[in-house]
C-alpha cells in the first residue's frame, strides 16, 4: 500500500496525538501510585480498613485554590487509645502530600479542618493511624471547576 502525501500527514498527526495522550496520562498514574506508596509508608505496610475515619470535602469545588476539608476520627482519645496521626493526600496534585495532623490525648476529640489546593478533579484520601497501630481510610472525590496550582 502506497501512501499519498496527504495520508502520511494524517497518520503523522494521529501518531503525535497518541504520543501526547500517552504522556499526559502517565503523570496521573504515577500520582496514584505515589499516593498508594505514601499510604504504605505512613501505615508501615498495613492495608487500611474502612470505617472510624470520616473525611468531609465538598462534592464540587468551584475554586481549587481553597477547598475546605475536615477529618474526624471516632476515638475515645484517652492516654491508652487515641488517634496518633492523620495523613491527607490528593491523588491528582503535582505532589500528593497535603498535610499530616498529629493528635494527642489532650486533643479531646480527633477533629481537624483546613483549606487545601486541588489542581483538578480528583480523589482526596485521609488515613488515620491509631495508638494500637490499626489504620483506617476514607476517600472522597472532589470535582474542581478551576484548578488551584497556577501555572
Amino acid at each position: 500500500m502506497s501512501l499519498t502525501r496527504r495520508e502520511t500527514l494524517i497518520l503523522g498527526i494521529g501518531a503525535a496525538a497518541l504520543a501526547t495522550a500517552g504522556l499526559r496520562s502517565s503523570p496521573v498514574l504515577a500520582a496514584a501510585e505515589d499516593t498508594q506508596a505514601m499510604i504504605m509508608e505512613f501505615t508501615g505496610g498495613k492495608e487500611p480498613e474502612s470505617g472510624r475515619i470520616t473525611l468531609n470535602a465538598p462534592e464540587i469545588a468551584e475554586n481549587g485554590n481553597t477547598v475546605p476539608i475536615s477529618v474526624s476520627v471516632d476515638s475515645p482519645m484517652t492516654a491508652d487509645d487515641y488517634v496518633e496521626q492523620v495523613i491527607v493526600l490528593a491523588e491528582g496534585n503535582p505532589n500528593p502530600g497535603v498535610v499530616v495532623f498529629a493528635f494527642s490525648p489532650l486533643s479531646g476529640s480527633a477533629d481537624a479542618s483546613t483549606r487545601m489546593r486541588l489542581a483538578k478533579t480528583q480523589n482526596v484520601v485521609a488515613v488515620a493511624k491509631m495508638k494500637d497501630g490499626s489504620v483506617f481510610m476514607d476517600k472522597r472525590e472532589v470535582k474542581v471547576t478551576i484548578g488551584g496550582c497556577g501555572g
Binding site: N65, V67, P94, G97, L106
Partner: protein
C-alpha cells in the same frame, strides 16, 4: 509576605475537661514552588511547613504542612481543657522564621 500575622480564636473560659474548638489563621502566601513567573522561571517554594499547639508545654496538636495547603493557612481543631493555662501556637516558615501567639484559658 513580609509580615505574617497570626490570628487565633480560643474561648476565654471553659469548664474542667470540656472539649473546646480552636480556630487559627495566619496570613501567608504559601508559595507552592510549582508556579512560574512571566519569564517562565519557577518561583521558589516558601510555605509555613509546621504548625503546633501546646498547652502548658504539652503538645496538643501538630500539622506537618505540604504546599497543597491554601494561602493563609487555616486550622481548626479540638482541645480538652484539664486546667487553667496557656496555649502556645507556633508556625514555622521555610525561611526559618517562627511566628507565635499565646492565649490563656481559665477553668471555672
Amino acid at each position: 509576605m513580609a509580615s505574617a500575622k497570626p490570628r487565633v480564636k480560643v474561648p476565654s473560659s471553659a469548664s474542667k475537661d470540656e472539649v473546646i474548638t480552636i480556630k487559627t489563621l495566619i496570613s501567608h502566601t504559601m508559595e507552592s514552588g510549582v508556579r512560574k513567573d512571566k519569564e517562565g522561571n519557577v518561583i521558589p517554594r516558601k510555605i509555613i511547613n509546621t504548625f503546633t499547639a501546646e498547652f502548658n508545654g504539652a503538645k496538643v496538636f501538630e500539622a506537618n504542612i505540604e504546599p497543597a495547603i491554601s494561602a493563609n493557612p487555616y486550622f481548626e481543631f479540638s482541645m480538652r481543657v484539664p486546667e487553667s493555662g496557656t496555649i502556645k501556637f507556633t508556625w514555622v516558615d521555610d525561611d526559618g522564621s517562627v511566628y507565635s501567639e499565646e492565649k490563656t484559658i481559665e477553668v471555672n
